[in-house]
Amino acid sequence: MDIDVKKVAMLSRIRLTDEEAAELGPQLANIIGYVEQLSAVDTEGVEPIAHPHDIAMPQRVDAVTNGNRRDALQAPAPKTESGLYVVPKVIE
């Protein structure tokens, strides 16, 4: 399995140095190679499950429960200004 680890890293927004890519590439290929044994399992007609139990969606009533906690919630933020989160310019 040939994995374009740099592309996967970009999708994941993780910078990888060339050395890291060179190390992680084969490891990733090894892991993916291992999970490929799944293809040997006969799953014809088997329903995939995303949750271990077949449970119902809880129904939240449409009533406001949260007030303004901006100061407490922004305390862990790396950078804010006048109640706004600050990031490097978003280019559209």
Binding site: R13, R15, E20, I31, L38, I49, P52, P76, P78, V90
Partner: protein, 488 residues
Amino acid sequence: MPFSTLSEIKDRLDAGEATAVAVAKIYLDRIAAFNGDLNAFVDINPAHVLEQAEASDAYRAKHGARALEGLPIAVKDIFCTQDGPTQCCSNILKDFHAPYDAHVITRLKEAGAVLVGKTNMDEFAMGSSTETSAFGPCRNPWDIERIPGGSSGGSASAVAAALTPAALGTDTGGSIRQPASVCGITGLKPTYGRVSRRGIIAFASSLDQAGPMTRSVKDAAMIAAAISGHDSMDSTSVPDAPAIDWLGACDKTDMKGLRIGKPKEYFVDGMDTGVRAAMDTALAECEALGAEIVDISLPHTDAAVAAYYVIAPSEASANLSRYDAVRFGHRCDNPDDLTDMYTRSRDEGFGTEVKRRILTGTFALSSGYYDAYYIKAQQVRTLIRQDFIDAFKTIDVIATPTSPVTAFKLGEKTDDPLTMYLSDIFTIALNLAGLPGLSQPCGFVDGLPVGLQWIAPAWREDQILNAASAYESATDWVKAPVNFGGET
């Protein structure tokens, strides 16, 4: 006292023979003495521990005791707490203070517990050895050259060395049971949906479940009773989960009428011979207690690890996208632009194993591979769940080794991720099926603990507790490590 069980301490507190403050001091002293060797705790605030203990003594004096009144309990660094930092042993959450408590933390506080501190873990719970922690590896009190298992290695190590009588861990693929096994303590992973996940930093949402790590089966039941129950703010917390009598289920002293399944896929050649022998002895003891051992088959066991290593990293890759340096968490210095902020902050913040899992998950979900990996893994998940449903038609519980090996040496498997992943080969399947499981000590090989794993149908933790308490009453495998004050 230090190696007492939680229920023994509770009895002494209730009898007025000790105070919460006195109990807290014993453990704080032990943490001060031994944490340097073990690195089991990554955050400890003795003054705050004593405050809680004082408040608990005052509460008891005024209102009487609640379920866990004055009992010290440590929690893995994955549980969000308003007090102190919650860092998930990752640099990306360095010095993060959560503005909320996890639901289970609220439950522990309401039950009167004294929260001791945060325990070491594999970064974001990704690992089986507690070596990927940003705070350095944790060590096994039975041999400090060895790993305490993972990812809840800090909790296991702390309980095994009696730095705390009990702790909470989380279990996504065995992260409570495997460290409990290799540290010689009891660890319970409840049925998925039994315990709220809110405020527990997510690794793999459809697999994660919190549970107790203790010195006895009854202790595990006491804590499970306190932390379980519906949470309307976790959509996967099951509202009508069948209630069980947690403590009542721990009174068993025999196994009369119990049908124990012994899956042939878990007793294969190549398993550590010492572990194999300990298992054979344990099962013989069960028979002597009146149980019937039934050979069963869980045919899709072999595919469980592969399915897990698609599903867990996939969910994790999305769960960890929120660490983007915008609202909380590490941000790199002087980012050139937005992409640089993202990629460099995440590069600096995440350790290698976490990156490996994110990349694996991103790859498995990416276009062109999704059906072959993710959908296929979910189909295999269905088959694995069905294996258990079929098996439980004729038996009450399943018994297996928790881990194929005892504690390995630090660094032994760090260079080979795949071998490390296979440490969880016996624990993973039941996370995929959402079932409860418990590991309890069942012997030693070369001075290292071996764990016996019990598995029950969904919501039947009582059946596990029946078996485990009977086994515990007939055996004596809960020991204290000599180097940490235990007797030989």
